[in-house]
């Protein structure tokens, strides 16, 4: 029975489940739920195509979320506590129910304004305002977690946009005139807003970007020497290496996890 309670509570977030439903449907929904690190700004920007339905980011349902921010305000009520959390992108109210048997609640009562916390919960609308219902809150002690959280948010977003892009434009991945470097305008770039300002690049920087765009690369990216050898006919080695360095410092390319000599494009 405790298991069915669990299903009920988590499904109730959209307000549709009105009974203690333990059908396959409810179980299936639970298994689909994932924990997604996001920013507070993303909560406010999340779409809600169906009124009272679930929130969506990049077309994906928002289930459990994780945010990291600083406590700005604490409001203790008889049955719950409301923390106003600010994460550098916005602030939002986070509500957590007080369980009298819960040791955590005692620990939490010691936290005050200015402390960094991680909140696990789900996005809600309460009194026409977006807020978070927390299942769990804990204090951040290693502040590298804050950096890691936001880098993960970026990574997930990049992966999703790339996946959505390749799904929607599957046919465009086939070789065609539009896809080639010689096309007057590369139609595939409609989602690459970050790359749109391409006119500001030197021919060499431009060539490197084009090289990445035309290669199907894995996560390991490309070795710098490979890039040099592929472009040596058009640019000299120092210029190519300098351009790669510049593109890395401007976040168009990044060093992959393989080693310092492998880079990949930041893109979708």
């Amino acid at each position: 029975m405790s298991n069915s309670n669990f299903n009920y509570e988590y499904n109730n977030q959209d307000g549709f489940s009105s009974s203690m439903d333990t059908s396959n449907n409810a179980r299936k929904d639970l298994s689909n739920q994932n924990l997604r690190p996001i920013t507070i700004k993303q909560i406010y920007n999340a779409e809600r195509p169906v009124p009272d339905g679930s929130f969506k980011i990049n077309g994906k349902d928002l289930d459990h979320i994780s945010i990291i921010g600083k406590i700005q305000n604490v409001q203790s009520l008889s049955t719950n506590t409301i923390y106003t959390i600010e994460d550098g992108t916005g602030s939002i109210d986070v509500r957590i129910w007080i369980d009298t048997n819960d040791n955590e609640a005692q620990k939490r009562s010691l936290w005050s304004e200015g402390a960094y916390v991680r909140v696990i919960g789900s996005a809600r609308v309460y009194h026409e305002k977006r807020s978070v219902m927390a299942f769990h809150i804990h204090l951040i002690e290693d502040f590298n977690e804050v950096t890691a959280h936001f880098l993960e948010v970026i990574k997930i977003n990049l992966e999703e946009r790339r996946n959505n892009d390749s799904f929607r434009n599957a046919d465009k991945n086939l070789p065609s005139f539009d896809n080639s470097n010689y096309a007057p305008q590369n139609y595939n770039d409609n989602n690459n807003n970050n790359m749109e300002s391409i006119s500001g690049y030197s021919p060499c920087q431009q060539a490197i970007i084009n090289l990445f765009k035309t290669q199907k690369l894995g996560e390991e990216g490309m070795h710098i020497d490979t890039i040099v050898s592929m472009l040596r006919s058009r640019f000299d080695e120092d210029e190519i290496k300098g351009s790669i360095e510049w593109l890395v410092s401007e976040c168009h390319l990044y060093n992959t996890t393989v080693d310092e000599s492998h880079v990949n494009i930041v893109g979708f």
């Binding site: 700004k41 406010y44 700005q72 992108t89 602030s91 200015g114 936001f150 880098l151 976040c251």
Partner: protein, 109 residues
């Protein structure tokens, strides 16, 4: 959403752009001086001075701090909240990468 407070993460190179705004800056404590001014090296290796209006303890107790304050010049900031100790083990380089990346994702940050 209207009452959502945003305190962006910036480094010293962005001070000019964020003049008069309330921001958060992470840095390594360079020297604590005698008066209420503290010198920090920020994540992009810039030097800034912080006018302290709250406790000095966070600056004295750890190598790295997060300051929330108002940008008052190209290299100066005045605290609007107490600073936070980040301890002695904080990866400033990764933090600076985050600041650079986040400018590319204005729909998220």
């Amino acid at each position: 959403m209207e009452d959502s407070v945003v305190i962006p993460r910036i480094n010293s190179s962005m001070f000019r752009e964020y003049r008069d705004r309330i921001v958060r800056v992470v840095g390594q404590v360079l020297s604590t001086g005698n008066n209420n001014t503290i010198f920090l090296t920020t994540s992009d290796q810039g030097n800034i001075n912080v006018t302290v209006n709250h406790m000095r303890a966070p600056y004295e107790n750890s190598r790295f701090v997060e300051v929330i304050g108002q940008v008052t010049g190209d290299d100066s900031i005045t605290e609007t909240s107490p600073a936070l100790s980040l301890g002695d083990n904080f990866d400033l380089e990764s933090y600076n990468k985050l600041i650079q990346y986040q400018r590319k994702f204005t729909d998220i940050f």
